[in-house]
Amino acid sequence: MRIDFVLNGSPAVLDVPPDRRVVDLLREELGLRGTKEACGAGDCGACTILVDGESRLSCLMLAAQLQGRAVTTVEGLSPDGSHPLQEAFAAHGAVQCGYCTPGMLLAAADLLSRDPDPDRDAIREGLSGNLCRCTGYVKIVDAVAAASAATVGAPAGRKR
């Protein structure tokens, strides 16, 4: 099946079986290996991508569902790793093994687009579908709070 969609800002056309999982399509056909698979069953959030700006689990999506949509993967967050969330994750120690990081970044981007100034509880709520086994989440929450402050212009962590 021929699928027309927008991938990280550029038009893309693919000829793939309509039931190909999007995570495989991204990693195998398109070589975008930033997107991770950790459960393949919708339980962990590692495979999170943005579809029309909203976070979706690419292990549960099929190729046909991309028709006409705009997809953002971690590679498309910024050209050079300079998205405020990327910089905040690195600066605030939110990255350890890094396997959850791409999915976490995209879930956070989705959260901030809906709520540009979330308090810590709202950040925790917004990321609760994304497992991280390394960090204990505190520094991830710090990073998202800092990134929201950087975007919104208020000091970090002012809300509790």
Partner: protein, 770 residues
């Protein structure tokens, strides 16, 4: 920090790998699989115990796209692997000993062909009655899991005694006793076991995989498959988590065997989540019983502990887990008399193995609850009781050896004592809403660093001045996410006076880096850091000496290494490092240093079995944890509201990375305390997904405050001690003690689920306050 500023020790330099990881760079084993790689997969036994009558492969082999279907008959070596005892078959030959045992290995051109062929492997397995718990494995006439093992179904047992042993109890005015059990815990790293391998034209096999132990794997795989180790090259890129679950063989032997049957094509293997849970190792399920006794004045005099580990069918690292558990079983206290017994017992349950905490997690869960019981019995404040008995440098520990490392335990307890979360706890407790109960719980911790006296804890570092004037650090220990590779850059950069951009890192690769042991045992940076310290200093001396010769300086003190150059101090002249590098030959530009960790010289009263597995350690980290919990009396729901972790892990090379280790370990410990329980029925795992096995999410883990007591440790690089594990030991006892403080109940086992809490709340009201 500006890009040209030299790296520094003791400050929160951002991790070298953080930027690339936020960009989604291809850093993990699965990200480097070449296009067109074949797919390999394993047919699991799916029965708990059976005799292997036959494995028929013809139907599977006939599937279109199948390249090879391999059984034990295709394994040319010992077909046995294992870290200490080689008791685990690569592919089962005579007996199946747990549901995750591997029956056949299939290689195919597509995942579809692979799945189909795996389903067509015909395994003729004759069921045998399984041994499903420690008691039946120990019973008279129980069948033996490994008839060649002299100890029968007991993998290992031993005793530690100190002072007058059991007789010491007579000196106590009060004694308490407690029995407690902890369940199997799943590592649940997000990156499941995976890798890829290829046979090269010259007959070698190159394997890239997610492993904590590339050097040890190489020897093990070679032996199991009957290969000369020199034919194997193993690379360990960044791991997506390890926590002990990749401390040993997972996909390695399968991939090398598959590559040998793939006609030079690369072969990939990735375990799905269910396969990872069913086949991988677990934290050992443990049962502990503990007795503690003290004088009326609050002096601990006596401790006894018994530890039983359900080993599952294979040794893995069970001996070391038992040893560490026993060594720490009297808590971080001065105790004059003690007797500690332990046993690790083979069963047909899932495999117990290495998991962050290594047995110390289990015993601490029991001992620190008993400490609270004893303090309450004596009418002494829980924190004060711990502080009074806390180990100090030069003390003899409860298990009978002299503590020679730096010891900041009392300082950690003092830090908790003056923290607002502790001083304000009664006020906080009394502010609980209707049907809510609040409590505060403590735990004091210690955790040994490294391997102990028998297995040499050795690291070999190599640093090279590159022709372009930058430096390359060859890292011999895998980075499973803890950031040791980045710390290596920080150490080398600081010693050589260079900025981050001037330090290039080579990850473990048996063809390029030098063997430096496992990424495990809280020893990664402790041991490798010392080796690197030596190598970087040696290279610095050589560079400075070479420049001094070129300038015909009066002495090396006239020359300094500055970012990108050497400077002649009297004249201010500089030579760029790239120019100097071209003047130096390769042997001169490469410095190597080997370091072996110091070991304890005492502990002779321990059983030989336990000494051989690492008793006693020489260097320990310490800690004090505080959990504040709220319990809903109507639902039994326990919520951890705040958590404080104070750690003495020596001086800090990078406070941010140290805090990462503590916070991540606390979250894993909280998982064990609250929700994580691998449910095993009849030897089979019932919770084989992340939907049924519940690791904490961002709404389950509270704010964790991390403080450090940076006492310098003279044997460690820049004064540090290991920090990777200690904090995982705190949450179970701290939460248990907080639950007792809140509601007056103690549960006999973790995790403390709402159902268990509710049942205990209903049955409450008999007996003394816990």
């Amino acid at each position: 920090m500006t890009p040209s500023e030299p790296l520094r020790i003791g400050v929160a330099v951002p991790r070298a790998d953080a930027g690339p990881k936020t960009r989604g760079d291809p850093l993990f084993a699965a990200d480097t699989v070449p296009a067109g790689a074949l797919w390999a997969g394993v047919r699991r036994a799916d029965v708990v115990r059976a005799r292997v009558a036959a494995v028929r492969t013809d139907r599977a082999a006939a599937v279109e796209g199948v390249v090879a279907v391999l059984t034990h008959r295709d394994v040319k070596g010992t077909n046995r692997q294992g870290v200490i005892r080689r008791d685990q078959p690569v592919l089962v030959d005579e007996v199946v000993r747990h549901a995750g045992d591997a029956v056949a290995l299939v290689v195919a051109t597509t995942p579809e062909a692979l799945t189909r062929a795996l389903s067509l492997v015909e395994a003729d397995l004759e069921p045998l009655p399984p041994l499903l718990d420690v008691e039946s494995a120990l019973s008279e006439g129980a069948p033996l899991l490994h008839p060649d093992h002299l100890g029968g179904n007991v993998l290992l047992e031993g005793t530690l005694t100190a002072g007058s042993g059991a007789a010491g109890e007579a000196e106590c005015d009060e004694t308490v006793e407690l029995a407690f059990a902890t369940p199997r815990q799943e590592h649940a790293y997000l990156e499941t076991e995976n890798g890829w391998a290829v046979e090269t034209a010259d007959g070698r096999v190159e394997l890239t995989c997610s492993t904590q132990t590339p050097y040890r794997d190489r020897m093990e795989v070679a032996e199991a498959l009957g290969l000369d180790p020199s034919r194997l090259r193993i690379s360990a890129p960044y791991l997506g988590g390890g926590f002990g679950g990749k401390d040993g063989i997972t996909v390695q032997t399968f991939l090398v065997l598959a590559a040998l049957h793939a006609g030079g094509r690369p072969v990939r293997m990735r375990w799905g989540r269910e396969e990872s849970i069913v086949s991988g190792t677990k934290r050992h399920a443990a049962r502990m019983s503990v007795r503690l006794g003290a004088r009326a004045n609050g002096t601990l005099r006596f401790a006894s502990a018994d530890l039983r580990l359900d080993k599952g069918p294979y040794d893995h690292l069970g001996g070391a887990v038992l040893e560490l558990g026993m060594e720490h079983a009297t808590g971080p206290y001065r105790v004059s008399h003690s007797v500690v017994t332990g046993r690790a017992v083979y069963t047909d349950n899932p495999i117990g193995g290495a998991f962050r905490g290594f047995g110390v997690t289990q015993v601490t869960a029991a001992v620190e609850q008993a400490v609270d019981l004893l303090a309450n019995r004596l009418g002494i404040d829980r924190l004060e009781f711990r502080r009074r008995n806390a180990l100090r440098r030069g003390d003899v520990t409860g298990t009978g050896f002299t503590l020679l490392c730096s010891v900041g335990l009392a300082d950690c307890l003092d830090e908790v004592a003056r923290h607002p979360l502790w001083t304000g706890r009664e006020e906080w407790k009394s502010a609980a809403g209707p049907f809510k109960r609040r409590g505060a719980g403590l735990a004091a911790l210690w955790h040994g660093t490294g391997y102990g006296p028998v297995v040499p804890d050795v690291a070999n570092a190599k640093v090279e001045l590159l022709p372009d004037g930058r430096f390359r650090v060859f890292c011999g220990v895998a980075d499973m996410g803890q950031g040791n590779v980045s710390t290596n850059s920080q150490i080398a950069g600081a010693l050589l006076g260079q900025p981050a951009g001037a330090v290039e890192l080579v990850l473990p690769d048996t063809d390029r880096t030098l063997p430096s042991g496992s990424s495990a045992g809280s020893r990664t940076t402790y041991s490798f850091g010392q080796a690197l310290d030596g190598a970087a200093r040696l290279l610095r001396e050589r560079i400075v000496a070479r420049a001094a010769d070129l300038w015909m300086a009066r002495g090396v003190e006239e020359v300094a290494l500055v970012p990108g150059a050497v400077r002649h101090l009297p004249t201010g002249r500089e030579i760029p490092l790239s120019r100097l590098a071209s003047a130096m030959g390769e042997p001169e530009r490469v410095a190597v240093h080997r370091w072996r960790a110091p070991v304890a010289a005492d502990g002779q009263r321990a059983s030989e079995t336990i000494r051989l597995h690492g008793f006693p350690h020489r260097v320990f980290a310490f800690g004090a944890h505080l959990a504040l919990v709220e319990v809903d009396e109507l639902t039994g729901q326990l919520e951890v509201d705040r958590y404080l972790a104070v750690t003495d892990c020596g001086a800090l090379v990078n406070p941010q990375l140290a805090a990462q280790q503590v916070q991540g370990a606390v979250a894993q410990g909280l998982g064990l305390a609250l929700s994580e329980e691998l449910v095993v029925e009849g030897g089979r795992i019932e919770t084989s997904s992340l939907r049924t096995y519940l690791v904490p999410t961002s709404v389950d883990v509270p704010e964790i405050e991390t403080l450090f007591v940076p006492v310098h440790e003279e044997t460690g690089p820049f004064g540090l001690k290991g920090v990777g594990e200690i904090a995982v030991n705190g949450p179970v006892p701290a939460v248990a003690n907080a639950l007792a403080d809140a509601c007056g109940i103690r549960l006999p086992r973790a995790p403390f689920t709402p159902e268990r809490i509710l049942a205990a709340l209903r049955g409450r009201g008999n007996g003394e306050a816990p």
